[in-house]
Symmetry: C2
């Protein structure tokens, strides 16, 4: 049962809320236990994610915004794909550095879903290069089947009810 | 559309992981935006939740362990129910105090599910007493239908894959 003490591959997927916030909560927990944590954001959040960014800074969680300059509204999809691939190269460096116990690849599923990076390539690379003790969290909708097969813990977040349906506007401290 | 700027009732339920961690992530975000946050834990976690507790302390998130002295393994169910009811009284005081922008009632669904406090009583009380701007997050399995009807945002967390199935043991910084 060598697997017991190894780093986990955790995937938070689904169409609901809570994928990134659960990853943040996990980082908060890990940080409180003294683990070295790193967040790599693959998509530029329109809200800037200021709230969590500020708290992360206070807790000593390293934070990288790889998606700067593009959002889902990007018109140049080639540029978006190139930036995602660049982000993955940066992530690889962090993963193999030995400097972290837990790394979050936030909204990384999209790079695979949209085939900017082939899922098989990501998984083959992780199998070969991810340090055994490193916990890796990947969030985002549309997690590919191959990623789910490879992961240890996969949670699907589903909207049962969402205030956007009722003309609600995102609020400071809750949505960003 | 008066509802737009009002505090939300958020419920994280389902059998999967991420209910409490998503609430923690939300508190982290809210705290980073300067919101005054308070966590009320209704069940004593066997792991103590040291990681998140320490980080919460650093961020200035108020934290109350109401479940001290009982866990799900409690043999005296009457005592457990009494402690849950006591916790609800404390929570009421926090909710009406005006001292907070966001309050989390962690694993509070169980008190309703097991009928230690009637769901209708909780909802009637909240309708009458919850300050309009206060965001309230309730986590736990088995969220009663009436609570879902009353809530603004309800997310269900489902296990797609869980390492406990494979003889995995909870790890420091990940599970606690």
């Amino acid at each position: 049962m060598a697997k017991k003490s190894q780093g986990l591959i955790i995937v938070n997927t689904g169409l609901g809320k809570g994928k990134t916030t659960a990853a943040l909560g996990l980082m908060m927990r890990a940080r409180g236990q003294g683990l070295r944590t790193c967040m790599i954001q693959f998509v530029k959040a329109e809200t800037g994610r200021w709230g969590e960014f500020k708290s992360a800074e206070e807790l000593g969680i390293e934070w990288h915004k790889m998606g700067d300059g593009f959002t889902w509204k990007s018109k140049d999809i080639e540029e978006t794909a190139a930036k995602a691939r660049h982000g993955w190269e940066i992530a690889k460096g962090k993963i193999t550095s030995g400097d972290y116990d837990l790394i979050v690849l936030d909204e990384f599923t999209y790079t695979m879903h949209f085939e900017w990076i082939p899922t098989a390539e990501v998984i083959e690379w992780l199998k070969e290069h991810k340090p055994k003790q490193l916990h890796l969290v990947i969030t985002g909708r549309f997690a590919p089947e191959e990623l789910i097969d490879y992961a240890d813990l996969v949670t699907e977040m589903t909207n049962i009810k969402h205030p956007h349906d009722e003309g609600y506007k995102g609020q400071k401290g809750i949505e960003f």
